[in-house]
C-alpha cells in the first residue's frame, strides 16, 4: 500500500496520503532512536564519571556494550530491509551533482525563508524518493559512514585484545577512542537537530505522527 485517500474536513478536498515509512523502517527507526539515546547517556556517564552520577562506571560500560550490540543488530535489520526492497532508491546517490546541489540549496532556502512564508516545499516526497537533498546527504553520511565507523571503533574498544591487530592498524587504542568520541559528538549534534527538524512538518506533530503511522501527513 503506497497511498491512502482521505477527506480533509476543513478544505473540502480529497488528499492522497503517501505511505512513506513501511513497518520495518518504523520499527528500526524507533529502536534506533532509543538505542542511540541510551548510548549517548551511558557514553556521557563513561566519559564524565566525575561529573554525572546516574549510574556507576561499571554499570554504564556494561549497558553501553549491550545496547551497542543491539544497535548494530538493528542497523543490519535496516540494511537487509533496504537491500531486499525496492525502497533502496531512497539512498541511491544522485549522479548529477549540479542538479543535486541546485536542489540542495533550494531546500536550504526553503528552511531559511520559504517555510516561514508558506512557500511550496521544493521536494515532493515519494515512497521511492522520500528524502529531500539535505536529508539524503545527511542520512547517507550517517548510515553509511558515521554509524559503521562508530560501531567498528566501539567493537574494538569492547574487546581490545580480540581486535588488537585492527587497533594497531588504526594507530592505537587512543586513536580508536578519539574516532569513537568524535562520532559520539556528531551523533549528539545530529540527534538534537534531527529532533528539532521533526517539528518542521505542516504541523509540529506531523513528522512524529508519520513515523508512527507510516503515512505522510497532508500539507495543506
Amino acid at each position: 500500500m503506497t497511498a491512502q485517500t482521505i477527506h480533509h474536513p476543513s478544505h473540502q478536498v480529497q488528499i492522497n496520503k503517501v505511505y512513506l515509512h513501511p513497518l520495518p523502517v518504523r520499527i528500526w527507526h524507533w529502536l534506533n532512536a532509543l538505542g542511540f539515546l541510551l548510548l549517548i547517556v551511558t557514553g556521557f556517564q563513561i566519559r564524565y564519571v566525575d561529573l554525572f552520577g546516574l549510574m556507576s562506571f561499571e554499570a554504564a560500560v556494561k549497558l553501553h556494550n549491550w545496547v551497542g550490540f543491539g544497535v548494530i543488530a538493528n542497523w543490519f535489520l535496516w540494511l537487509f530491509y533496504y537491500m531486499a526492497s525496492d525502497k533502496v532508491t531512497n539512498y541511491h546517490p544522485d549522479l548529477d551533482a549540479k542538479d543535486f546541489f541546485d536542489r540542495y540549496f533550494r531546500q536550504v532556502q526553503y528552511y531559511a525563508w520559504g517555510i516561514f512564508t508558506g512557500a511550496e516545499r521544493p521536494h515532493r516526497v515519494h515512497p521511492h524518493d522520500k528524502f529531500n537533498p539535505m536529508q539524503k546527504l545527511t542520512y547517507q553520511f550517517v548510515m553509511f559512514i558515521s554509524a559503521p565507523v562508530t560501531f567498528l571503533s566501539g567493537l574494538m574498544m569492547w574487546d581490545v585484545q580480540r581486535f588488537a591487530g585492527l587497533i594497531e592498524m588504526a594507530g592505537g587504542i587512543r586513536v580508536v577512542n578519539t574516532i569513537h568520541v568524535f562520532m559520539f559528538i556528531l551523533f549528539v549534534f545530529f540527534i538534537i537537530i534531527h529532533a528539532y527538524m521533526g517539528f518542521l512538518g505542516s504541523k509540529p506533530s506531523s513528522h512524529f505522527k508519520e513515523m508512527f503511522t507510516g503515512y505522510e501527513e497532508p500539507h495543506v
Binding site: 561499571e58 531559511a112 516561514f116 585484545q161 592505537g172 587504542i173 568520541v181 549528539v188
Partner: protein
C-alpha cells in the same frame, strides 16, 4: 658415611698431636689423609691480612660452622684450589675484601655451573659487574664457610634477601602472603603454600622487576583462576591484566604511576635491551635537563627521535600502571581489600594518572626513567605519541570536551536561531 673424619675430631686430634711432639709421625699421616687439618692449624687463629684498601681481612675459619656446612665434604681446597700451586701464605696483594669475594665467585661456577649461569643473567650479577658494592656475590647470600643445603634455609626469616631488602621484607611479612607463611600457610582458612621471596623472584636468576611480565605470570601460576575471576566482572580483563601490575590494585594503599615505555613493536621487546639503542638511551638521559618533566611536544619529539635512531625499530610508547616502590609492591592485601572501583582510575584527573614517567630499558632490564607532565596523557598531541595507552574518562583528551560543548551549544543554538529567524520573517511579511 663420610669418607673423611669430621673436622671437630680432626681438630681434637690435631690438638692432641700438638701437645705430643713425639707423635709427629702420626700427625703427618693425618695431614696426608686430610689436608684440612693443616689449613685449620693456622686458620683457627685470629689471622688477618692487610688489604690494599687499608682494611684488615680476617682469615679465621669457625671450625664448627664449616663442619656443619654443605661444603665440609669437599674440604678447603675444594674452593681454594690454587693454594697448593703457589707459595702459601701468599704475598700477593688483595685490593679489598669485596675484590677477593668477587674473585672467589668463579670458584662456585666449577661445581654449580647451572646456578652460576642463572646468577650471571640476574640483576644481582649485572649490578655487581657495574661495580655496585652492594650487589650480592655468591658469598653474600651463602656464607663462605657456612654454606647450608637448600633444605636448611628458613625463608620465613627473610634471610638472605632481608639483609639488603629489609624494608621490602617488612612489607612482605605483613602482607597476605607473609602472614600466611608465619601463620602456617593458611590463606582464607585453607592450607596453601604461600610464597616466599624466591618463589616469585627466583633464587639465582633474579631479574629486574620491570624487565618483563614474568611477575604477573608468577602471580597467575598460583592464582590459576585469577584471569577468569577478573573476566567475571571486569570489562577487557585481559587488557587490564596486561597494562596494570597486580599490586597496583592488590596493594590498595600503594602510590601509583603510569610508565610509558619506549617499545619496539616490530621485535615485540622494550627498546634498549641487550646493549641496543645506546644513543636513544643517552638522549632520554639528557632530554629533561631542566627536570620539569616532559611536556606533550617533548614526548612526541622523543618518540620521533627514537624512531629515527632506533635501528629500524617500530617505536611506540607502551603504557603500564605500576606502583612506585618495591615496598608498596609487597604490601599485597587480602582479596576483599583490593581496589575494585572503576572510578578510581576512570574519573577525570584520577590520582593514578598524575604521576607519569617515560622509560627506556637498560641492557639488564632495569628502566631508565624520566618524569613527564600528567597532561601527556590527555593532550591531543598524545593521540600519536601515546596511542597505545588510554583509560576512558581518566585520560580523556580535554580538547574533545571543548568540541563536544561546542557541538551541544551549536545544536541548541540552531533551533533557537531558526525560531527567531521565523519570527522576524513573519513579522516582516505581516508588516508588508
Amino acid at each position: 658415611m663420610k669418607a673423611r673424619l669430621t673436622l671437630g675430631s680432626l681438630m681434637l686430634a690435631a690438638a692432641l698431636l700438638a701437645a705430643a711432639p713425639a707423635a709427629g709421625l702420626a700427625e703427618q699421616h693425618e695431614e696426608v689423609a686430610n689436608p684440612d687439618v693443616k689449613c685449620l692449624k693456622c686458620h683457627t687463629k685470629n689471622l688477618k691480612k692487610k688489604l690494599e684498601d687499608g682494611e684488615r681481612m680476617s682469615l679465621r675459619v669457625e671450625v664448627g660452622e664449616f663442619e656443619g656446612s654443605a661444603h665440609s665434604v669437599i674440604g678447603c681446597t675444594g674452593c681454594h684450589r690454587d693454594i697448593g700451586k703457589a707459595k702459601h701464605p701468599s704475598r700477593e696483594p688483595i685490593a679489598s675484601a669485596r675484590a677477593y669475594s668477587q674473585a672467589q665467585n668463579e670458584n662456585c661456577r666449577h661445581c654449580h655451573e647451572a646456578r652460576f649461569t642463572d646468577y650471571e643473567d640476574s640483576i644481582h650479577a649485572s649490578l655487581a659487574h657495574e661495580g655496585d658494592a652492594g650487589a650480592p656475590l655468591c658469598s653474600d647470600c651463602h656464607n663462605a664457610h657456612a654454606v647450608q643445603s637448600m633444605a636448611a634455609y628458613e625463608p620465613v626469616t627473610g634471610e638472605p634477601c632481608k639483609t639488603c631488602h629489609e624494608s621490602i621484607y617488612e612489607a612482605y611479612s605483613q602482607s597476605v602472603h607473609g602472614l600466611a607463611v608465619t601463620n602456617g600457610n593458611v590463606i582464607r582458612e585453607s592450607h596453601v603454600q604461600a610464597p616466599i621471596c624466591a618463589d616469585c623472584h627466583q633464587a639465582h636468576s633474579v631479574s629486574a622487576v620491570a624487565a618483563s611480565d614474568h611477575l604477573k605470570n608468577t602471580c597467575l601460576e598460583c592464582h590459576e583462576g585469577a584471569s577468569l575471576a577478573h573476566e567475571q566482572w571486569l570489562p577487557n580483563a585481559g587488557m587490564h591484566l596486561d597494562s596494570i601490575s597486580c599490586p597496583a590494585c592488590h596493594s590498595p594503599m600503594a602510590e601509583r604511576r603510569v610508565d610509558l615505555q619506549l617499545y619496539d613493536r616490530l621485535e615485540q621487546v622494550p627498546m634498549g635491551r641487550g646493549d641496543k639503542h645506546q644513543s636513544v638511551r643517552e638522549h632520554v638521559a639528557a632530554i629533561d635537563a631542566e627536570g620539569d618533566g616532559l611536556d606533550p611536544v617533548e614526548l612526541w619529539k622523543l618518540v620521533r627521535r627514537a624512531s629515527r635512531d632506533g635501528d629500524g625499530a617500530d617505536v611506540v610508547l607502551r603504557g603500564r600502571m605500576e606502583v612506585t616502590s618495591g615496598v608498596d609492591a609487597h604490601r599485597i592485601a587480602p582479596r576483599g581489600s583490593a581496589v575494585r572501583s572503576c572510578e578510581n582510575c576512570h574519573e577525570g584527573n584520577a590520582k593514578a594518572f598524575q604521576n607519569v614517567t617515560v622509560s627506556i630499558s637498560k641492557p639488564d632490564g632495569r628502566k631508565q626513567r624520566v618524569s613527564a607532565e600528567s597532561k601527556v596523557l590527555s593532550s591531543p598531541i598524545s593521540v600519536d605519541s601515546v596511542g597505545g595507552f588510554y583509560a576512558p574518562g581518566g585520560t580523556r583528551i580535554k580538547l574533545l570536551d571543548g568540541v563536544l560543548a561546542l557541538a551541544i551549544f551549536g545544536a541548541l543554538a540552531i533551533p533557537v536561531g531558526h525560531i527567531a529567524l521565523g519570527k522576524i520573517i513573519r513579522k516582516k511579511e505581516k508588516d508588508q
